[in-house]
């Protein structure tokens, strides 16, 4: 009779010989052994990209029940988030951008389709252990830094709450060490730890919020309008922090905002969303160079330029959804050029192609 432990060890040994140079944490191997959820083969949306897909939305439908009637906010979402990138999600209020972020975090349920995380299904019903694991891996930064921090607990408690929940520290000393490390990373000082949120300015509070999510060492952070409530001079600090964590810790960000100028600075790729549908998705640079969808153009011209001569002579475009004729020819989300997707029907696609 072979003991269970030995089998496990054997497996580990096998794996190690196969992938010799790869440093696989033992945690992962154990999970593979348990086979609690299947791996799926996700076909990336873009054939031209060699980047690894971290999150994949496939035909995701999100809505809310109101008096037993389903109000669909996001009808059919297809989106890839690559590992290590900052994906900007832009749209006006009510377009469903926050809803998408929340569905990814499992705060609101999906009504159809699947969300995959590292090729594993994370939407719908999941075993308890996996749900817990996801909470650790996906963190969030909220819009309003004064509303998202508990006013009655001190900064030390706020930041280490996640550590406590998952027992991610060895002893009290280790916990303190981790907390003061993370607070230093966001540019605050250790003496701030004993203070309460109301003693801080908006920018500092937002940095506490960031420290709280970053201390968990997540792989993905959903940042829901993290700078909309902040002053101009403080915005820059928070944006720099996000960029720093992306570059140094290789974290992936889903950055939700309504201001294109900010998103342009921080994002690698930008998805423009209108009424729950992504109308255009491209690299930040390309989207500004060659916007195709009329709504993207309207958004671009709406961004105020800090230059009196240019701003006063600017021509503003207003988007009207009725400019599309989708009665016969239904629109599809198509990759029109490398890594540049647009929602259009066949006739529009031909027109857009001429512009490229």
């Amino acid at each position: 009779m072979i003991k269970h432990d030995e089998v496990l060890n054997e497996n580990i040994d096998n794996k190690k010989t196969v992938e010799f140079n790869v440093n696989i944490p033992i945690d992962n191997l154990k999970k593979d052994n348990q086979k609690s959820s299947e791996e799926h083969d996700i076909i990336p949306m873009s054939k031209n990209s060699d980047k690894k897909v971290l999150v994949a939305f496939r035909d995701v439908k999100i809505g809310f029940y109101n008096h037993n009637q389903l109000a669909v906010i996001v009808p059919k979402l297809n989106l890839d988030i690559y590992e290590g990138e900052v994906l900007g999600l832009v749209g006006e209020s009510g377009s469903g951008k926050t809803t998408i972020g929340r569905a990814l975090l499992r705060i609101i349920p999906t009504q159809g389709g699947t969300i995959y995380y590292r090729n594993k299904r994370i939407s719908g019903k999941l075993p308890h252990g996996e749900k817990r694991e996801l909470k650790k891996k996906i963190q969030m930064i909220f819009q309003d830094p004064s509303a998202c921090l508990n006013d009655r607990s001190n900064v030390d408690y706020i930041i280490s709450e996640g550590l406590r929940a998952f027992h991610l520290y060895e002893n009290e000393q280790d916990r303190l060490h981790k907390v003061s490390n993370s607070i230093a990373e966001v540019g605050l000082r250790p003496e701030h730890l004993s203070r309460f949120p109301h003693e801080f300015s908006g920018g500092q509070r937002q940095r506490i919020g960031i420290a709280r999510s970053v201390i968990m060492n997540p792989e993905l952070i959903v940042a829901d309008e993290p700078i909309s409530a902040l002053d101009v001079s403080i915005r820059a600090q928070v944006l720099n922090l996000i960029r720093k964590f992306q570059q140094e810790k290789k974290m992936t960000f889903l950055f939700i905002a309504h201001d294109l100028s900010v998103v342009k600075y921080i994002s690698d790729r930008i998805a423009v969303i209108y009424h729950g549908k992504i109308v255009e998705l491209a690299s930040a640079k390309r989207l500004f160079e060659k916007p195709l969808h009329p709504y993207t153009k309207a958004l671009l011209t709406a961004v105020p330029i800090p230059d009196p001569r240019l701003e006063k002579n600017k021509k503003i475009e207003i988007y009207d959804g009725s400019c599309h004729d989708y009665s016969v020819d239904k629109p599809e989300f198509v990759e029109i050029e490398e890594n540049h997707f647009v929602l259009a029907n066949k006739k529009e696609l031909e027109e857009y192609r001429k512009l490229l």
Binding site: A236, V303, D307
Partner: protein, 368 residues
């Protein structure tokens, strides 16, 4: 055209609407006296749009609240005068004194349209209330006028929508209603206290356009409070930059954007994400805005200022005149001060943004 006319007139020829002299405002809080506005002087000309820029806590809202006597109950004007149509507004005390000014001659639009509208009253009755009180109309006249006002602020089907409640409107529409109420008395001065901060970018441009159009129509003076420099560039004729309860620089919009002189203005401009290069960290202002708990000695911005001189910590700089329209409060402009070049980003502002506009033109071409 209008813009050129304003530029042709020299400062002396223009009619002054509000003249603020050495205004100081104090707040009493827990036995402390907080000196929140410190000796501010500013002339606001008739028919212009002046933008007041600064971060939160710089006193920009408090400053304009003194024009309508809407300071919080623990705040008071400790010295100075506000001359408006041959009357010193700083001397007005009771609500009765204010009645012929507030809402009638000087109207305010606030940031959050939901809190400025009464959620229990219909849109129409809120406009009619103002018309009957200030313009003495009877019910029928007032209702007609209210519909006309809603049409002016481009609300579709005003005859029907006048009976709606505020919650039935979107944020942009609510702000339009607030503007309609503000315009009900044909005010001489319209104070816009961050009217678009709570709105989306696309809605923001529409509201800004509306305010611009209405200004042409009604010829009022606009005082525009904001922290968004992009908005300032689009709407303002003149700009006043506030920091630590003082105006540190003021001038025409071109002066402020193309020839800024105060280090704080430099810092504000260079923290704009529009100006950053790809992959480059944004510059930002270190430290915190000054606390009013202690008396500020010297230049309030000195502790956060890269270019601070020794004297900045000892003595407050006077207002230096740069040109007829442009003034700045920094020792760097003194003859004895060392020559300091503004940061590169600020110097290249035009060039940098021009490259962006070429993009924008392409956007325009595409649509044609």
């Amino acid at each position: 055209m209008q813009e050129n006319d304003i530029n042709v007139k020299t400062e002396n020829e223009r009619e002054i609407e509000i003249s603020v002299k050495d205004l100081s405002v104090c707040f009493l809080s827990h036995g402390n006296k907080l000196h929140v506005i410190r000796n501010v002087s500013l002339d606001i000309y008739k028919g212009e749009t002046i933008a007041i820029v600064g971060e939160s806590g710089s006193g920009k809202s408090v400053f304009t609240k003194t024009f309508t006597g809407m300071l919080e109950s623990n705040g008071y004007i400790s010295s100075g005068t506000i001359m408006f149509q041959n009357e010193d507004l700083a001397k007005l005390k009771t609500s009765k004194d204010w009645l012929h000014i507030r809402g009638k001659k000087i109207a305010t639009i606030f940031q959050d349209p939901m809190t400025s509208l009464n959620p229990l009253l219909r849109i129409g009755s809120q406009i009619i209330e103002v018309l009957r009180l200030h313009r003495g109309m009877n019910k029928e006249e007032a209702e007609k006028e209210a519909i006309e006002l809603l049409r002016r602020v481009r609300i579709p089907e005003p005859e029907k929508r006048i009976h709606d409640f505020p919650f039935m409107y979107s944020g942009g529409m609510r702000q339009r209603v607030v503007i309609a109420i503000a315009l009900a008395c044909n005010p001489d001065v319209l104070i816009c206290d961050e009217p678009t901060t709570a709105l989306d970018v696309t809605v923001q441009t529409q509201i800004l356009e509306l305010i611009k159009d209405l200004q042409k129509e009604y010829n009022f003076t606009t005082i525009f409070i904001t922290h968004d420099l992009g908005v300032v560039a689009g709407i303002a004729d003149r700009v006043a930059v506030m920091y630590g309860g003082q105006i540190v620089e003021y001038g025409s919009v071109e002066d402020i954007f193309y020839r800024p002189a105060h280090p704080y203005t430099w810092a504000l401009l260079s923290s704009l994400p529009q100006l950053a290069d790809d992959g480059e960290a944004l510059s930002y202002i270190h430290g915190n805005p000054p606390s009013f708990n202690e008396e500020i000695v010297g230049d309030a911005f000195a502790p956060r200022n890269k270019y601070a001189l020794k004297i900045d910590y000892i003595q407050e700089p006077p207002m230096f005149k740069i040109s007829d329209s442009h003034y700045a409060k920094t020792w760097l402009l003194d003859k004895r001060a060392p020559k300091v070049e503004p940061p590169k980003i600020v110097q290249n502002l035009s060039k940098k943004l021009n490259s962006m506009v070429i993009d924008n033109k392409k956007v325009g071409d595409n649509s044609d």
